[in-house]
């Protein structure tokens, strides 16, 4: 799946752009809302304006009508005929008023004039058409009603009102007739429509004026041209009469195009401002980001690249200025760089130095060996190679503890360094193995002299943690180019010489080709054992352990054999000590456990219920994984843990190691049985015997072989049997080869025995046959767990 990674600059730009778009969207939305608001507001303004204009025109119309009425009634002629109640003359006079200027000039559309007496009875009448009086046509009867109800001085006052009528609408005005000595009234009816349509000019908008009854009072030409036009705003204003009834409906139409154009212009300006602001903010943000974060980060990145190319830049401080976070990041970066610098230096030292002895390690030594070989090839400068192995170091380590062993190694390293010239290289290859490179040495005599010097120095007595020790060393020497012009070959040959020196206790030995024939080179051994495990050259032989009293088979001990293609059968003691020095011991133990348990499961499947006994190396107990391994293999083959007995060398009991104790406890906790092998052949600790969860001790066969009546070995064996019994353990005699020895052991109370007398170690098939034959003689009982 593809993932897109944005730079910080692009991310910030994108965010600001999105914010800008959001702002524009907001502006558009706000613009629409604002437009609606403006339209509503505009409509309200128009309505208020129309209200003012219409009422102003109406007031002016009423005032003009009142002025006309006052002017008419002021006529002495009218007053005279009115006093005489000469209806004909009154009517004639009134009719003449339709020719007054305000009427003839269409300033006022006078429709009717009534002359009324003080009781509002009609005395005279005239209308524009010269018609006769009809009570039905009297405008605004409610105004007359109102006038009748007046008393006192208020009867002198002018009354007016707007009313709906049959023919549309009328403005009616009542003025007193006769001046202050009032004799009657004039009632004037005016059609206000011609006056009101002037509101179209006042408002500057097309008008359609309707009466309350729906009749059309007026429609402007512009109104008729409206359909089809866009951006029109329609609204109406209702004019009410004196009784609150609707008289006129004013319909206006306003062209909103200029307003919309203005709004569009405003919106464009806002967009422009928003875009410019966004761009400005983006630019400022990017510049700020560049200064506060990107540039400092780029500096840190460049420095990281430099460090990646060359580690010597580690620890160099990078000073950056930027935001608080970046500054803090750079400070932490510098701190980390300093720590890494120290760590890297330490690692470098560790990579090339043996941390225990401070000598160069194997890697450095091989590098210098390669250089030396190269120099031989180029400049023909010979050198001698020494491989050194401490004698009995394993014993020191196992018996006195690792801390003593470590101090011993440090002291030996120190002595070796003192023996060497400045041009020489001495290194620790691992364990108790050292090597030295001595340039310029061609003669054997020189190397012998140097080896003797080393032997002398190393052999000096040591006093470590209260122990007086003397440490021997075995030295193998190879010369270049005499013994080879290849680093590995020289190492191998020096190794061969060293093992011969060790085996023959000669101190040192210079390589000779004849040594190869008898040498089981360790490096070869390790490689060959690897192959042997893979190619099936390892075999397991089994030897039964018999209960001397009952004669039954307790279990069978698994013994490893190496069917070497060139060297024939190799016994464990020929290769196990070497294998123990390498990690192959764990693989070999795993192999033995797996195969032996598989065979045991096979016997159990056939009803041959015997236990299995397997030897463990001291080094197996350094690794707690042996517990899980045993558990999983037992589970895999379906074998109860009590059928498996693990035999440990006596050195295990003296090992002062918590880890070994924990591993043994762990194994015992699984339900396995534990035994001590080769008891009496080495050092032992009675305290350890009591402390460890053991079931039996196996007396070394060397004692059994040498037993004869009354000799010391017989006494020792008896003592060991008694010792085992006294601490609740079973005693097992190994190497029982004669009936006499068996009888003697039985007499001593020995519990179990194994040896050629009962059965020689044999392969799975032969052991199966032996077991079938043996067990058919009687039922077998599962051994009790101690």
């Amino acid at each position: 799946m593809n993932r897109y990674h944005f730079s910080m600059r692009a991310s910030v730009g994108l965010i600001i752009l999105l914010m800008g778009l959001l702002g524009v969207l907001l502006a558009v939305t706000t613009g629409n809302v604002y437009q609606r608001f403006v339209l509503d507001n505009q409509r309200e303004i128009f309505e208020d304006l129309a209200d003012i204009k219409v009422n102003l025109i109406l007031s002016e119309t009423i005032q003009s009508t009142a002025d006309l009425g006052m002017s008419i009634q002021a006529s002495e002629e009218l007053r005279k005929v009115f006093r005489e109640r000469d209806e004909g003359k009154i009517n004639a006079y009134l009719h003449d008023q339709f020719h007054q200027f305000v009427v003839s000039a269409s300033l006022l559309k006078l429709m009717q004039v009534y002359a009324l007496d003080k009781d509002f009875a009609v005395v005279g009448y005239a209308d524009e058409e010269g018609g006769s009086f009809s009570p039905v046509d009297m405008p605004c009867r409610e105004l007359l009603q109102q006038a009748r109800q007046r008393e006192g001085y208020s009867r002198l006052k002018i009354l007016s009102g707007l009313c709906a009528s049959e023919s549309g609408a009328r403005v009616a005005v009542i003025v007193p007739l006769g001046g202050l000595r009032m004799e009657g009234y004039l009632l004037l009816g005016v059609d206000p429509t011609p006056n009101l349509v002037h509101v179209e000019e006042e408002m500057g908008m097309p008008l359609r004026l309707l009466f309350a009854n729906g009749g059309v009072a007026y429609v402007s030409e512009e109104w008729n041209a409206l359909p089809g036009q866009e951006n029109l705003l329609f609204w109406r204003y209702s004019l009410t009469g004196m009784s609150g009834e609707a008289v006129y409906d004013f319909h206006f139409s306003a062209d909103m195009a200029p307003l919309y154009a203005k709004l569009d212009e405003t919106r464009q300006v806002m967009f422009l401002i928003a875009a410019l602001s966004t761009f400005l903010v983006m630019a400022v943000s990017v510049v700020m980001l560049q200064k506060s974060a990107l540039d400092p980060l780029a500096r840190l990145t460049r420095h990281l690249r430099r460090v990646r190319k060359d580690k010597k830049h580690l620890g160099e401080k990078v000073i950056v200025k930027g935001s608080q976070e970046i500054t803090e990041l750079s400070e932490r970066f510098n701190e980390m760089s300093s720590e890494l610098h120290v760590l890297y230096k330490t690692l470098e030292r560790m990579a090339y130095t043996d941390m225990l002895t401070r000598l160069p390690n194997r890697a450095v030594f091989y590098d210098r060996l390669g250089q030396a070989v190269h120099m031989v090839q180029r400049q023909n400068t010979p050198f001698a190679l020494m491989v050194m192995d401490l004698d009995k170091f394993k014993w020191v380590n196992d018996n006195l503890g690792h801390h003593v062993g470590d101090k011993l190694l440090r002291e030996v390293a120190s002595r070796l360094k003192r023996c060497m010239r400045k041009s020489d290289t001495v290194a620790r290859l691992g364990g108790d193995e050292f090597a030295a490179l001595l340039p310029g040495i061609l003669e054997y005599e020189d190397s012998r002299h140097m080896a003797a010097k080393i032997l002398e120095h190393v052999a000096q007595p040591l006093y470590i943690d209260g122990h007086d020790l003397t440490c021997g060393v075995s030295i193998g020497i190879a010369h270049c180019p005499v013994h080879g012009a290849d680093g590995d070959l020289l190492m191998q040959r020096a190794d061969v010489a060293m093992y011969h020196a060790k085996n023959q206790r000669q101190g040192f030995m210079i390589y000779e080709p004849r040594l190869d024939e008898h040498s089981l080179n360790r490096l070869d051994l390790e490689r060959e054992l690897e192959n042997a495990i893979g190619n099936g050259h390892l075999e397991i032989h089994y030897q039964p352990k018999i209960d001397l009293r009952e004669g039954r088979v307790i279990d069978v001990e698994a013994l490893i054999r190496w069917r070497h293609p060139l060297r024939g059968y190799l016994l464990p003691e020929q290769f196990i000590p070497r294998i123990e020095q390498s990690n192959l011991i764990h693989r070999m133990t795993q192999w033995v456990l797996a195969h032996a348990l598989r065979d045991c499961a096979s016997w159990h499947a056939r009803g041959l219920m015997v236990g299995l006994s397997i030897n463990l190396s001291r080094r197996n107990l350094d690794d707690a994984r042996i517990i899980d391994l045993a558990k999983s293999l037992l589970s895999q083959h379906g074998i109860e843990p009590a059928w498996l007995s693990l035999e440990l060398s006596e050195s295990v009991m003296v090992a002062d190691s918590d880890r070994v104790s924990q591993v043994l406890e762990g194994l015992h906790g699984l339900g396995l049985r534990l035994a001590v092998d080769h008891f009496g052949s080495g050092h032992f600790s009675l305290a350890s015997l009591g402390r460890l969860p053991l079931e039996e001790i196996k007396i070394d066969q060397a004692f059994i072989h040498k037993m004869c009546h009354g000799n010391s070995e017989t006494m020792l064996v008896r003592s060991m049997i008694d010792l085992a019994h006294n601490i609740g353990l079973k005693a097992v005699a190994k190497g029982v080869e004669t009936p006499q020895a068996r009888d003697q052991l039985m007499e001593m109370g020995c519990d179990r025995a194994q040896g050629f007398l009962f059965c020689v170690p044999c392969g799975f098939e032969d052991m199966t046959a032996w077991l079938e034959k043996r067990l058919s003689q009687g039922p077998q009982v599962m051994p009790r767990q101690s």
Binding site: M70, Y153, K157, I158, V175, P176, G179, L180
Partner: protein, 148 residues
């Protein structure tokens, strides 16, 4: 014959009047128009209507300039600006000194009616009334008026 000392005293009196007139500001004079002039009854709009309605020969005199009169006046009032008022012009308008005359001008801030009253009184008219509220009061009370 007026003697030398008499002339002197007339001059002294006129000077005193002038000084007093200079000391008293004109707005103060108009603002302190007397509520009633000597022997002159003040009427309001309704009093004026009552006088006109009650006395057949009662006259209403508008003492404002003609331009004001044309724009609007009380129906039946005669225009005789105070500037043109003297005994002769009065006598041609109101021949009988015992007739009731009501004077008005624009309102309380107007001096014309008071001036005309003073003249009328000096001419010997006995029944003089002062519509002190004038045309302002008339309009304010909503009574009808006539435009020329």
């Amino acid at each position: 014959m007026v003697g030398k000392s008499g002339i002197r005293s007339v001059i002294r009196r006129d000077c005193l009047c002038m000084i007093l007139a200079m000391l008293i500001p004109l707005p103060a004079l108009s603002a302190h128009m007397p509520e009633t002039a000597a022997d002159v009854a003040v009427v309001d709009a309704e009093g004026l209507i009552d006088l006109v309605v009650g006395q057949e020969h009662a006259m209403v005199v508008d003492t404002r300039l003609q331009s004001d009169y044309v724009r609007g006046h009380i129906d039946g009032a005669i225009n005789l600006p105070n500037t043109e008022t003297d005994c002769r012009s009065l006598s041609s308008t109101v021949p009988h000194l015992d007739k009731t005359i009501v004077f008005y001008c624009n309102g309380t801030g107007c001096e014309r009616s008071a001036e005309s009253i003073r003249i009328a009184r000096s001419c010997g008219y006995e029944h003089v009334y002062w519509f002190r509220g004038g045309f302002e009061e008339w309009l304010a009370k909503g009574y009808p008026y006539l435009k020329q």
